[in-house]
């Protein structure tokens, strides 16, 4: 592991962005997911959905063009792409729960090998913020989780059973960490890709759940 360097936030965002297909409707959570917007393949028409009722968010405007009535769910100023539409909050979540999101990219505290994930409350806190995560995760066709593979103490965030409070059951389809890309399959976690300098065994050692190594395991294009 001597020349192994964990991916930084932008590299994780770039990798997950490569999953998005032309014409998809996508919802991005806060943090790393939001960065994915900077790595959409050239020429792709990816439509971004924001919980507060924007379908077709465009990039951040110049300072002088910021409008407080045109901000993302993350409270950042945005613009509109041509053909954007507004809906109210109930219909906005109809888009999500109703299955029209091709993908959601979300952060997580933990993901289990049946696709459960936790992202809304720390176990030692009384309350957390659910926001839109439960609705989005239950409805999106694909749920991509981006997170560091381990927490600050080196504890694996990929687990057999969640110890953090559940957000949504059996919904995560793929996990993008700073050392690996892992699919959630009926057989459990499958290691698809490793970060440059990492071996499958490095990833297995850092993962607190059984990890099936794909026959075609490859290195993440950094």
């Amino acid at each position: 592991m001597s020349d192994s360097v964990r991916l930084d936030r932008n590299q994780i965002a770039k990798r997950v962005a490569a999953e998005l297909q032309d014409g998809w409707l996508v919802n991005l959570g806060l943090g790393i997911p939001t960065l994915a917007v900077n790595f959409i393949p050239e020429g792709y028409d990816v439509i971004f959905h924001s919980e507060n009722g924007i379908i077709g968010m465009g990039p951040q405007p110049a300072d002088e063009d910021v409008d407080t009535d045109l901000m993302s769910a993350g409270k950042g100023p945005v613009t509109l792409i041509p053909g954007a539409a507004f809906v109210h909050h109930a219909d906005s979540f109809a888009v999500a729960r109703g299955g029209r999101l091709d993908a959601a990219i979300l952060g997580a505290y933990q993901v289990s090998d049946n696709g459960d994930f936790a992202n809304w409350r720390l176990p030692n806190r009384h309350v957390g913020g659910i926001g839109g995560a439960m609705d989005i995760a239950v409805g999106a066709q694909q749920v991509f989780v981006t997170m560091s593979h381990t927490d600050k103490d080196g504890t694996s965030k990929l687990v057999e059973n969640l110890t953090y409070p559940l957000t949504t059951r059996a919904c995560v389809t793929k996990v993008f960490t700073d050392i690996a890309v892992i699919s959630v399959t009926p057989e459990g976690f499958v290691l698809d890709e490793v970060a440059p300098g990492f071996t499958p065994d490095d990833v297995i050692a850092a993962t607190a759940a059984r990890l099936i190594v794909s026959d075609s395991v490859s290195t993440i294009a950094a």
């Binding site: 439509i47 954007a84 539409a85 979540f93 729960r97 109703g98």
Partner: protein, 232 residues
Amino acid sequence: MKQKKVETIEDALDRISDGDTVLVGGFGFSGIPEKLIDGVCERGLRDLTIVNNSSGAQKLGVAKLLHNGCVGKVICSFPWGRESKIFTDLYEAGKVDLEIVPQGILAERMRAAGAGLGGILSPSGVGTEIAEGKSTHEIDGVEYLIEAALPGDIALVKATKVDPRGNLIYRLASQNMNPVMAMAAKYTIVEADEEVALGDLDPEHIMTAGVFVDRYYVTGRYKPDGWDGAWS
């Protein structure tokens, strides 16, 4: 950008199969996707479950589908109109099934499907025949019927304007159940009077967001079938 526009009715309809549940917009003479309905008849599809407010009138709308033998079941609020003799005949001959739903609950069950809900708690029809066989649930001492979401395999929707993303504008009162049907179907097919360029629709005026539309066909504005009054 996803290519949603199709040039022929055949292409518009190529996802429909025998036995599908098809949500068909329209109320009275307004908002009926007539060209798509004609296309379904020409395809000779069979055993469709058709959802609409009524069973059609004369040989129009749903009645046309019934006349052409496409329909196995009708889900509607008003099957028994004076002008829907074809439904009466087929129903009494045991050739078509019927599920009757209060009009507002029909719309709400489709909206629930579109919103990814399992269903709704309905106050309408409690204690009546339509409650038979349905579960009930009490909230604050009031009894409600549990009405399941009503999704479609296909929606046939009529709009007046469409843009390349499939964003829709409906004219006057022609929207009726079209917007909830567009939400409720796995695959939504639109017939529009007119196509406008990308960016021509004000995002605040869009009535159905293009994410609910899978395909559209442009007809030009035409006089509704069976309407013999003034027309402009």
